[in-house]
Symmetry: C2
């Protein structure tokens, strides 16, 4: 069984991506980061998800992006709440973390090289968060190009490394549909940018609002708990 | 004064690169990594070097590349000793750390974005270590291409980010000559893959041998101490 490194944040997108990687026949090796995010609940979610998918190798590695700051997710900048979809798609949100996907993919590349894996899966999505520079197809293509020159396999002309982005052109509603078809239990996932310590979503940040919209499009309730009762569809 | 992020390992190449960045008129912001390397002496060297260059911002960030292993520098694989230059240039040495430069550059990219800097300096060198995939010009070009799509500046079409590699086409002897011309004190640097706790070089690993050859080409003694008296030129 061919191994693939799957970036697993514990959110809805990466969990769906993990299900897709397994469905495509890969032995998924999951990689999560303790990176100085505001809340650690998502790592608890990542561990539960990895266990529920029967993942044999799940690495949680620690890096410190708070050193650099520059984001509402790694500093004391307030997470924006209650924005409309139109407001979300103007400019780059303050929740953008500088070079985060580049850093995450670089660790995935290191691990893939050691595992002799040629496949990395990342749940980026350019529709609902078009504001994030490192979620765009042209960025991923350039990353793949670079990665194929960065490693031993690149020098030796062996099999090319591929960055799989199965969600890149899907809406949140379509992502959820795909996951449900594959049997994903979304009650384990943690999407909120500002959850309570018990992992309840705030129901008001961009991530919660887009997620709730995705479940609404599928006419099913979001199975995770929210602090605000009004947020539940 | 325009800021630039300079990757500073504490070795001869990155120290020379730092001197070049300052000479070119940048305010150098130095970035070093505690990455699970076999010895921490090089970080002690990096701190001394940063202080001697009057660096105002020197970040040492911790990551754990031992989690992935795959290198003599981050695992218990023995560092090769006593190899000839011919032996060093066949294949990829066991001291290659998977994706290390990709990871280092990615953190530099994150910091550059927060600092609003458009310049990153890295002391890669493709002549004396042609075996390292992530020291080749084609890799650096691809990295720069990717980096310019990864960040806010990339989306907004602002000034392009540049990866400076002033040493890439120099021999070790030429690098040392350049540094001496700029007044670099190489007694602070730590090059050895396997130094003693006090930072004495082994005099036998690839890094020591190439360094000693570089000083020999300049007809001057290497100012750092070696455990083996025979290693001193």
């Amino acid at each position: 069984m061919q191994k693939a490194v799957v970036l697993l944040s514990g959110g809805l997108d990466s969990t769906t991506t993990l299900a897709i990687a397994q469905h495509e026949g890969y032995e998924a090796c999951a990689l999560s980061f303790r990176y100085g995010q505001r809340h650690e609940f998502e790592l608890h979610a990542a561990r539960r998800i990895a266990a529920s998918f029967g993942i044999r190798q799940h690495v949680i590695t620690t890096i410190d992006l708070r050193t650099f700051g520059g984001s509402a997710l790694t500093s004391d900048v307030v997470v924006p709440k209650g924005r409309s979809l139109d407001q979300m798609t103007v400019g780059i949100p303050t929740t953008y973390v500088p070079a985060r996907n580049t850093i995450f993919l670089s660790f995935a590349l290191a691990w893939a090289e050691v595992l002799e894996a040629h496949d990395i899966f990342i749940g980026v999505n350019s529709l609902d968060y078009s504001g994030y520079p490192d979620c765009r197809p042209e960025y991923i293509e350039a990353y793949e190009q670079m990665a194929n020159l960065a490693t031993k396999a690149g020098v030796e002309g062996r099999q090319r490394l591929k960055i799989h982005t199965p969600l890149i052109a899907l809406t949140k509603g379509q992502i959820i549909r795909r996951g449900l078809d594959l049997g994903v239990d979304y009650s384990f996932t943690c999407t909120c940018y500002d959850p309570s310590e018990r992992g309840e979503g705030c129901g008001e940040c961009d991530a919660c609002l887009v997620r709730l919209k995705g479940f609404a499009e599928n006419n099913i309730p979001d199975p995770v708990p929210y602090r605000l009762s009004g947020a539940v569809v």
